[in-house]
């Protein structure tokens, strides 16, 4: 079976253009023939993830993790190499983005669900399940500004986790809610995985990644440092981060 996600020597180049936002600056740069400064957000990244697999992506800030996710989601496109993704991709949207405090939970739920790609009929079918999972209960028809921060995240996460796409992306959104809610989330993720969903998770919470994912990809400055079974890669990554922190501490002290 062909893999669910396949990257072949993928590079993504960004241009630093701090002055490009206004037309006159753009024209001035052209006039002075200023060269655009470029840098690689990702450089020759290759990996495969089989259907039903789950990949943890780790690395320090700016390593290219979010760029990788947006390439998988088809939100931006590689400058070099090839990205292949089979099936519908969901997730990635920050929890609660598109939420508005003056709208009720029910209204926000509908907007958010449609942003994540649920159709009218899919939402109708899963609506009760989503609401029950979120535990929002009688607050459903209250405006969102009356919700606690935890309730908002729970509502958003419940929608996100009921989308049921072939490929699900999670960007730093796994550690949500109290322990009971987290347990329910893990259970739901297990269930989705049994059905053949493929996961890609970006997080700094190593324990959660070890629990959810089977494989891991360690990025540094846009390059793959290591790819393999989750435990192995994460331990190597954590050891390296600890060593780096210790070195920084010695230098600073």
């Amino acid at each position: 079976m062909p893999p669910a996600i396949e990257f072949r020597k993928v590079s993504k180049i960004y241009y630093r253009h701090p002055s490009r936002a206004f037309l006159h600056r753009y024209l001035m740069d052209k006039w002075r023939r200023k060269r655009k400064e470029r840098f690689y957000a990702l450089r020759e990244v290759s990996f495969e993830l089989e259907e039903g697999g789950s990949l943890a992506v780790v690395g320090s800030n700016g390593a290219g993790k979010s760029t990788l996710l947006s390439l998988i989601a088809g939100l931006s496109f590689p400058d070099e190499g090839e990205v292949r993704v089979r099936g519908r991709v969901a997730g990635l949207l920050e929890l609660g983005s598109g939420f508005h405090p003056d709208l009720t939970g029910r209204e926000n739920l509908a907007v958010y669900a449609s942003l994540l790609g649920l159709s009218r009929t899919e939402l109708r079918r899963r609506f009760d399940e989503i609401v029950e999972f979120s535990g929002i209960g009688e607050f459903l028809d209250e405006p969102l500004r009356t919700y606690s921060a935890g309730m908002i995240l729970r509502l958003a996460f419940s929608v996100a986790i009921h989308v049921e796409a072939e490929v699900m992306l999670f960007d730093e959104i796994l550690a949500v809610g109290d322990q009971a809610f987290q347990a329910a989330c893990f259970e739901r993720i297990e269930e989705l995985r049994r059905r053949g969903c493929t996961f890609v998770c970006v997080s700094h919470a190593g324990e959660i990644l070890k629990r959810i994912c089977t494989r891991a990809l360690w990025l540094d400055a846009g390059r793959v440092v290591r790819e393999g079974p989750v435990r192995e890669v994460l331990e190597a990554y954590q050891a390296a981060s600890a060593a780096q922190a210790a070195a920084a501490g010695r230098q600073g002290g």
């Binding site: 936002a21 037309l23 939100l75 496109f77 920050e94 907007v111 449609s114 942003l115 790609g117 009218r120």
Partner: protein
């Protein structure tokens, strides 16, 4: 158009915009009516008391026929232009046809447009004009205007991502158009050599058609109708082309 396949998302975004604007206002939808009424009052005062135009009867209704289509155009175009920047988080992170963003904003303004049209119709009937079969032209005329604004907004919102000063260009263009659309003067007084130019401006064309139908019980002439349809569809086509050519780079610039 890929927008149509995402009807549920489009509907939700339109409703969200509309509800947010009115949820916390005690007068709710009536705010939508206040602006044209105030403008109507001011312009009527100026052009009946200060610079009287005796050739125009019922100046209030006459000017409202110009204000309602113009208002929709001006407000919808500006909010359409800034829509991608204002929804940067969604544009960067949601997989959807990105055309939906400016189109939904324009259509949310279209809801206000409908309310204002209802106001206009109420004034027309109140002033003693009757319903006639030429009213069947109104959905076509207003529909073309919405298509025109969608086209302009697709183009300007895409450009606004790369050059943030596009919105100021749009605002200035709106100020100029307030004078170049026959809002407080009649098409009849425009010298012959400029008439064709006026007809090629869809907003002017909508205003003229609106007055012919509502105030004179006349069918809009074919010379006006085809220009309106032609320019509006051309704007939509050009807008889609510009948008599609630049949308792959949105995520990198927002």
């Amino acid at each position: 158009m890929p927008v149509l396949r995402h009807g549920f998302l489009l509907q939700n975004l339109i409703l969200r915009d509309f509800k947010i604007r009115y949820r916390n206002m005690s007068l709710g939808v009536f705010w939508s009516l206040l602006n044209p009424l105030v403008m109507m009052g001011v312009l009527t005062f100026i052009f009946t008391k200060i610079f009287p135009s005796p050739s125009i009867k019922n100046f209030g209704v006459f000017v409202l026929c110009g204000l309602v289509p113009y208002n929709f155009f001006a407000v919808a175009w500006v909010s359409g232009t800034t829509s991608l920047l204002n929804n940067a988080a969604l544009v960067k992170r949601v997989r959807m046809p990105r055309e939906i963003v400016p189109v939904s904003v324009v259509l949310a303004n279209g809801v206000h447009f409908l309310i204002q049209i209802a106001l206009l119709v109420a004034f027309v009937l109140g002033a003693g004009y009757g319903v006639n079969r030429n009213w069947l032209w109104l959905p076509f005329v207003f529909g073309m205007e919405i298509i025109f604004v969608c086209g302009l907004s697709l183009a300007s919102s895409a450009l606004d991502v790369f050059f943030r000063d596009v919105r100021y260009v749009v605002e200035s263009a709106n100020t100029v158009l307030f004078w170049l659309v026959p809002i407080f003067y009649s098409f009849a007084i425009i010298p012959d050599q400029y008439r064709t130019v006026y007809q090629f401006n869809p907003i002017a064309a909508v205003v003229m058609a609106c007055r012919l139908v509502l105030l004179e019980n006349r069918e809009p002439p074919f010379s006006l109708v085809w220009k309106l349809a032609f320019v509006s569809l051309l704007a939509l086509g050009a807008g889609l082309v510009i948008f599609r050519r630049s949308k792959a780079k949105f995520a990198d610039y927002l």
